[in-house]
Each structure stands twice: as C-alpha cells, then as structure tokens.
C-alpha cells in the first residue's frame, strides 16, 4: 500500500517535470516559439575570443559546440557529477581551448555532501544525471538520492588564482543553487555580458530558489531577461544579458 502511495506521489512529480508543452517569456518570445533549441542565445553577444565559465557541463554537446564556435576562446568547464565527468573529459579531450575540472565551482572551498538523484529503480531521476548540493525534500527523500562527496572551489578565489579579471559568458546548471552563487559573486559580474542558467518553477529539492525570485534578483544585479523557456511547474533555461546591452538593443 505504502509502495503504491509513493508511486502515485512520484507520478505527480514526474508528470509536470516531463510536461511536453514549452512555455516562453522574455523579449524574444516570438522568436523562441519557432525554435527547438533555446540554449544558444549567448553566441549573439560574444566576441571571437570569449572567456566562458560553465558550471555543470555534463552535456558535453554544448561544450563541444562552444569549443568549435570559438577556437580562440577559453572555455572553463566544471562538472562535479562523478558519473558524468569521465565521459565529458573523453569528449572534450582534443579541444585545446577547453579546460575541465571535476570540482564544483561554488561559494566556498571544501568537501560537501552531493546528491545524485535516483528513482525507486535506481535509475537517474528527472533530467539525466540530475544532481545537486541540495537535499531532496520530504517525503521523496528515501527514494531519490545517492550521496557522495564533491570538492568545491570558491568561484571568487578561483578567478583570482587564474588571473581571470574578465568573463564574457557564465553558464550555470547547479541543481537549484544557481542564484545562491550569482548573488555572491556580484563583483565578478561587471564584465559578464551573458548569463545562462537552469531555472526551476518548482522543485523536489529543499531550499531551491524558484525562477520568479531569481529573475527579480538578477535585475538587481544589473541583468535583464532575454529569453526563458520552461515547462510549467518544471525546469527551464533562461538567458540574461547585461543591462547596458539590453538597453542599447531594446530601448
């Protein structure tokens, strides 16, 4: 009986997360409706030799695409999922402009618990390789995690150590921690033209900041929403651009 109850609960969570209808908001609402790939607006704002920082690069497809588009750029990719990292490393090994790390670029340095999400059958839950520093919320907790540890690097300290005083594009997929990071690296964001993040309209993880609050926060940091596609009560992807660029283009 309990098993059936949890199965029902899962289906209620899984249903909206895998909803087929894509919703849109942002300036380029009409353009996005005709596109199936929403994640590449950044290329419209980047120089020929951008500095790109990707936290959550397990989708090597995006990394490889950027590496080919910007042979003179520098692409720093952080992928902390131990199940994704080997494949990513293999896929991008031959790109001289891609630098890969197994660490998680976040707020502080140190080792922290890291949750690899699994369903009741032990299979990846939600989007493939879903993982996060955030714990799952009750009552899904017993079924949805495999805990490991991840080594975190402070974003600010890492930039200083790399002598990176300028970043053109930041791409974050931090399993719900995107806003936590962004609001704490505001001093670095001055040089950034484009920020692309995974968004959450609801979450099965504790303490996830949902997109409406993220959007408001980003405006406070000097970034305006360019485009956002998402599933209702699910996840999505949003692109923000620096306000001076936004105003020059749209005002």
């Amino acid at each position: 009986m309990r098993f059936l109850f949890y199965l029902l609960l899962l289906s209620l969570v899984l249903g909206p997360m895998h909803g087929e209808e894509l919703l849109f908001e942002g300036v380029w609402k009409e353009v996005l409706k005709t596109r199936t790939d929403s994640g590449n607006d950044a290329y419209l704002f980047l120089p020929f030799n951008p500095v790109i920082v990707m936290v959550g690069g397990y989708r090597s497809g995006k990394v490889k695409k950027l590496a080919k588009m910007y042979p003179k750029g520098q692409i720093f990719v952080f992928e902390s999922n131990p199940e994704a990292f080997p494949a990513l490393l293999k896929e991008v090994a031959f790109f001289g402009n891609v630098f890969v790390s197994n660490a998680l670029l976040y707020l502080g340095s140190g080792t922290f618990p890291f949750y690899l999400y699994r369903d009741i059958y032990g299979e990846p839950f939600g989007s493939d390789l879903e993982c996060s520093l955030l714990e799952p919320s009750e009552p899904l907790s017993p079924f949805l995690k495999k805990i490991t540890n991840v080594y975190c690097l402070s974003f600010t300290n890492w930039c200083q150590s790399q002598k990176l005083f300028h970043i053109d594009y930041i791409d974050l997929d931090l399993g719900g921690c995107e806003w936590d990071l962004l609001q704490n690296i505001s001093e670095i964001l001055g040089s950034v033209s484009v920020i692309h993040i995974r968004t959450h309209e609801t979450s099965f993880k504790r303490d996830t900041i949902l997109f409406p609050d993220v959007k408001k926060g980003m405006e406070g940091l000097g970034f305006n929403l360019l485009s956002h596609w998402f599933c209702e009560l699910g996840q999505g992807e949003a692109t923000f651009i620096q306000r001076k660029i936004f105003d020059a283009m749209f005002k």
């Binding site: 419209l44 020929f48 030799n49 033209s193």
Partner: protein, 309 residues
C-alpha cells in the same frame, strides 16, 4: 596629449573617404545605350558571380518585356580582408553612443566579434552585420558612383531576387507622373512596390530608424514624422519616411549624390537598406510593379559564408 589624441580620433572619420572609393568595383560598359529604358538612363542588376541562376531567373522576367539589365558583378563581402573592413566601418570616437556592434579584428581570422562598443579608435559595424551585407552595400555604392560619373539623371537599380508583377514599362509613365505631381527636382527615390515582404508575403512596413552611434538615438528623433510618414499622394504613389529592402529602386541624380555623400561622411555601419537617416525624399508605388521573390523561396547571399563553397 589627451586633447591631441582625442582630436586625432575625431578626425579619423574624415580620413577614410578615399579608402571607401577604393573599395568600389569599377564598372565599364561597352554599349550603354543597350541598357536604357525610356526616361531611365540605365538599368542595373547586381549579382554575385557564383549565382548565375539567380541572374538568369531575374533577368528573364525583364527580357520578356525587352528590357535588358546590365549585370553588375557584385562585390563578395566574404572575401573582404580585415584591413579593408577597417577602412569601411565606423570608427568609435568620443561623443558617440555605445551600442552592441560587430567588428572583424585581424586576429579573429575573418570571424565576426560581437562586442559592446567601448574602445575608441576601433572600427565597428552594426550588431550582426555580416560580410555579405557589407559587400552588398559596396556593390550598390559602386553602381551609384558609376551612374554619377556617367552623368545619368535617372537609374533603376535592382538586385537579383526580383519578381516582376506588372509590365515594367509602366515605370516610365510612373516616373513622368511623379515628376508632374511633386516636381522633377523634388524626389530622390521611387520604390517599385509598396514595401518589403516577409516570408508569407505580408508587408513589413518600415517606420522609424535603427540606432546609430553617431546620431541622435532618442525615441522622439528616431520615430519622428519624417521617418514614420506614410502619406498617399496619389492612387499610384505614397510618400514614405523609411523603407526596408533595396532590391528595386529608381534613383534620381539627387538621390545618388545623397547616398554617396552619406556613405563617405558616415561610413558603413548599418545595412544599405536600413540607413534611412540619409535625407532622402522617398516615394513608393502603391502596388507591386517589380517586387521581391518571397524571402522563404529566395537564396540569401548576405547570410553565412558556407555559400562560398
């Protein structure tokens, strides 16, 4: 020292006039009379060398009416070097409004670089200005220079993606009619259709100006009546403030001079058909005489460099 460097930066735009003309293609015509059409001194059609089918498809529509366009070998913008592009674009100097723009630095090996304008002395084009578009602009300017040097009063300039809807010979009558209506000296360009067409055939009405770093970008200026007007002056003509699309235009000598002067003074920043700020007296036919092949069916030559394969 700072004053001197700023003065030098302000003078940069005026130093490039000769360089712009150096980029024009020289047009030499053996039998100019062959390309005359009534009160139109010369009929031009701009076409890239590797697009013979487009020229064939376009010109055959005119040949049916015994109109012979002169094929202008278009400048292939994709072959322009960084050094050449630096002579053509707008140099960012103090006093200009920074915008999101495109540059082609030498170290980029021909790739565009999209940047927010920040560096004084750097040459920029508008955001996403493709090299093909720059080549198209230069091709048009080359035609205008030829026409001006030849002393022509009225020319018809087309691109190779036209669609003839009515007998083009009515344009000869329409020119006479417009002369009588507003005065021979009082118009600069006549477009041979009402407006630019989108993929599904609907008109995209141009109203207002896009931003330029070296002009007043206030809403009031860009959307002032002189750039938004759409006034029907007769059953055949509409006076317009702005217009997209340069695929079929009848130009008077006054219009030729204005376009050449504007490009020389202000360099190439926007696409040729978007620089409506030039003080042209524009008229358009209120019905399609010669229009454009629907965009969805047309092969673009301004887009990506893969067309050069």
């Amino acid at each position: 020292m700072r004053c001197l460097s700023r003065l030098l930066l302000l003078l940069i735009p005026f130093l490039g006039i000769a360089a712009l003309r150096d980029s024009f293609k020289k047009i030499e015509v053996d039998l100019p009379g062959k390309y005359r059409m009534g009160n139109i001194d010369f009929v031009y059609m701009i076409n890239l060398d590797h697009r013979p089918q487009k020229f064939a498809d376009a010109s055959i529509q005119l040949l049916k009416y015994e109109i012979c366009p002169y094929r202008v070998s278009a400048i292939n913008g994709w072959e322009l070097t960084s050094k050449q592009l630096d002579q053509l674009g707008l140099t960012y100097v103090p006093g200009m409004t920074p915008l999101m723009a495109t540059c082609y630095p030498e170290e980029a090996d021909g790739a565009p670089s999209y940047e927010f304008m920040q560096e004084y002395g750097k040459v920029y084009f508008c955001h996403h200005m493709a090299k093909g578009t720059i080549g198209c602009y230069l091709s048009h300017l080359s035609v205008l220079q030829h026409a001006y040097d030849a002393g022509y009063e009225t020319i018809w300039v087309m691109e190779d993606d036209i669609l003839v809807e009515l007998d083009p010979w009515i344009l000869v009558d329409l020119i006479s009619h417009l002369d009588a209506l507003v005065g021979r000296e009082n118009w600069d360009v006549l477009f041979t259709d009402p407006d630019y067409r989108l993929a599904k055939g609907q008109y995209a009405i141009a109203k207002g100006l896009p931003k330029r770093p070296d002009f007043d970008n206030s809403y009031e200026e860009r959307y002032s009546p002189r750039y938004t007007m759409q006034v029907d002056v007769s059953p055949h003509f509409r006076r317009i403030g702005a217009r997209f699309g340069a695929y079929s235009m009848i130009l008077r000598r006054s219009g030729i001079r204005k376009l050449l002067d504007f490009a020389e003074r202000h360099k190439l920043f926007l696409a040729y058909d978007l620089d409506n700020i030039c003080e042209m007296r524009r008229y358009a036919c209120r019905y399609d005489v010669v229009t454009q092949v629907p965009v969805v069916d047309a092969i673009t030559d301004n887009g990506q460099s893969e067309i050069n394969e």
